[in-house]
Amino acid sequence: MSQAEGAAGAAGSSAEGAARERTGSAAEGAVRAGAGRNPLWTFGILRSEFATTLRRWRTLALLGVLAAVPVLIGIAVRIETADGSSAGAGGGEGGPAFLSQVTNNGLFLVFAALAATLPVFLPMAVGVIAGDAIAGEANAGTLRYLLVAPAGRTRLLLAKYAATLGFCLVATLVVAASALAVGALLFPVGDVTTISGTTIGFGEGLVRAGLVAVFVAASLTGFAALGLFVSTLTNSGIAAMAATVGLLITVQIVDTIPQLSAVHPYLFPHYWLSFSDLLRAPVYWDEVLKNLELQALYAAVFGSAAWARFTTKDITA
């Protein structure tokens, strides 16, 4: 299939009524690339992926829910401690981590909110986006038009994965930013006591918060690859999302069964909470690095599995 045909096909498809703005812009990128084959060629499809992913109502609703979590936690803690009692009284057991420090320093709301959303909300949102990536297109009948653009399946898959990773980062930053705003509004901010008991300035505390947010986003990369792989297995978007989120829950249950402790270090959520190691002084890197290695491994295995599946699959929808 030549470049020209591809562009024509893409243009034709949008004319046919698969009215997808994306297809147009992808074709546009392809046409530009066809002229000079400049490196921006890949970015055309990537940019259109980002735009469609982030502009969907579904995505915006997910981000809205994520942003609401810190607001809820902040208001609840504020009401609970209005009479001067400390939050998480009774040893701080049971509630999300870092909750007892929130009253004294609003910055800790960032960590409390991330600790509260990381086990369920964040990965669920990522699972929805990743599960929908390929299967959703197939379900809507738009996958074959996408493939007509001369990007090739590998490149399309990479763009889909990149868009999912972009969503991971955006979702985490939304939680962190919302928590920071709520924390600064409702609680005092100032010098930060690390969980090791040493004191650091507010500026450095902010840097650590940013680091934690990026690390949490990186913690989701393995799961995103898993979701993408599941998404290549089916033509039903709903099935892919449900399977991905179901896998998440199953793996998290397995991670809590002590008799299965031998496999725990190889489960993708096992080191998720290690982000709190970034709040120690000095930072305890062991589990942080283990988590990053594990996520890279999951991304490599399931990313290549998704590639193997997607590039050999018969596209019927």
């Binding site: 591809g6 870092f98 004294n104 600790a115 090739g152 000095p282 290549s304 599995a305 590039t311």
Partner: protein
């Protein structure tokens, strides 16, 4: 990868089936390489034991004794497996009976060092230690999302539990006399550094032990000799004690205690990373965070606390086969086979009431029955009694209220009871 790879797979390939299958080799290969790496790298790393000049066991022990390293910081991993299945409470009571007895009535702060450090007596924990001379030490227990820090700086002792944002503070003379003042970072109740453990083991070793140097090892990136202590007497539950000693400065880096019954080590404590440079001064500084709940230890309490801690420490030493100290019970035998004999008031006691009988008073009768159900009934010339077993310490409680405790087998306990 090429723009037209979709065209390729849409039928131009001669054998599409095989091509399809071939692509799945990639994820399988990635997973295989990863599995191989996880399996092989530790094996390769451990095979590279360093070449060090020969040293006799005596020289090595002298090296440990002469070691005067006062500045270090590092991470310690400690695993304890006394073989008490799903009995966290009982495991705790082995070491914390005294502490809990002493604190009974007062609502204990979650930042209280005694309560916290006895948690180390079971399971696996990651600790961070730092020391800068006798006046500045710090010990942190790393939990999932929180950290427990014990900071000793001059005459101030702070404990901070970030999970509950609670602070424990002791200062002045009370703290000065408190066990924090000893040379180890955490002498409170549980010896946590490999050095403290090694010193206990060497003390117990006197005359009844074969001490050998068994090759070398690399611990936390440093060359070390392995000193192996084996009880020569029969009847001890201690199989062997291995201490890895830094070849350069004689600091024990790793301590492993294996039971004679084989299997997993009972105590395995070692540095996973260590630095003998001066730790940052900020490590020893602590300002209570705003709004934290602060529990002050007044002098009287601190003194009592010290006593409790010392008693708890005796019990910890008991773990290494040694009972001694104030209000000492009668000791039968010597070395590793020492058996402590003592009478309990009221004729019954927890096996943990080793040197602290008040502790057992608080135990409700139901708990007592429950504990009885756990033991093995034995009988002999002494009458009959119950043996409580762990992988290391066994205790025989006779029906007439005598208790024999030691790191020895059941038969040795019965023999001691018969002789007594």
């Amino acid at each position: 990868m090429a723009p037209n790879d979709s065209a390729e797979t849409n039928g131009t390939a001669a054998r599409p089936g095989r091509r399809k299958a071939a692509r799945y080799i990639v994820p399988v290969a990635v997973a295989g390489v990863a599995a191989a790496t996880i399996g092989l790298v530790p094996a390769l790393a451990s095979s590279g034991d360093p070449d060090l000049p020969k040293i006799t066991a005596q020289e090595l022990i002298e090296k440990i004794a002469a070691s005067d390293t006062e500045q270090f910081s590092g991470t310690v991993k400690i695993s304890t497996d006394l073989g008490i299945p799903s009995m966290g409470g009982l495991a705790g009571s082995f070491l914390s009976g005294a502490a809990e007895g002493g604190d009974g009535g007062k609502d204990a702060s979650s930042a209280d060092p005694q309560a916290k450090l006895t948690e180390l007596a079971s399971g696996t924990h990651t600790l961070r230690v730092a020391a800068d001379g006798p006046d500045k030490q710090r010990l942190s227990v790393l939990d999932d999302t929180s950290e427990y820090s014990l900071i000793h700086n001059g005459d101030q002792v702070w404990a901070y539990d970030s999970g509950s944002n609670a602070v424990y503070h002791a200062d002045g003379k009370g703290a000065g006399k408190a066990p924090h003042g000893k040379e180890q970072a955490a002498p409170e109740g549980v010896p946590t550094t490999p050095k403290a453990l090694a010193e206990q083991a060497l003390k117990a070793a006197d005359g009844t032990t074969s001490v050998t140097v068994d090759g070398t090892a690399r611990i936390a990136g440093r060359d070390a000799y392995r000193l192996v202590l084996k009880p020569e007497q029969k009847g001890s539950t201690v199989g062997s004690v291995t201490v890895a000693v830094d070849a350069e400065n004689g600091v024990p880096l790793k301590f492993t205690l294996r039971p004679s019954s084989g299997g997993k080590a009972v105590v395995d404590a070692g540095f996973t990373s260590v630095d003998f440079g001066k730790p940052a001064a900020s490590s020893f500084a602590f300002t209570p965070p705003k709004g934290a709940k602060i529990t002050e230890a007044d002098d009287a309490e601190a003194e009592g606390h010290e006593k409790e801690a010392r008693k708890a420490a005796e019990k910890a030493q008991g773990d290494l086969g040694k009972f001694e100290g104030e209000g000492a019970p009668k000791i039968i035998g010597k070395g590793w086979n020492s058996i402590a004999e003592f009478k309990t008031p009221g004729g019954a006691a927890l096996p943990s009431g080793a040197s602290e009988s008040e502790a057992s008073k608080g135990v409700p009768a139901e708990a007592q029955q429950f504990l009885d159900a756990l033991g093995d009934k034995v009988s002999g010339k002494f009458g009959s009694g119950t043996v409580f077993k762990t992988r290391l310490i066994n205790a025989l409680m006779t029906d007439d209220g005598r208790v024999y405790v030691g790191a020895v087998t059941k038969d040795a306990l019965v023999a001691a009871a018969n002789a007594g």
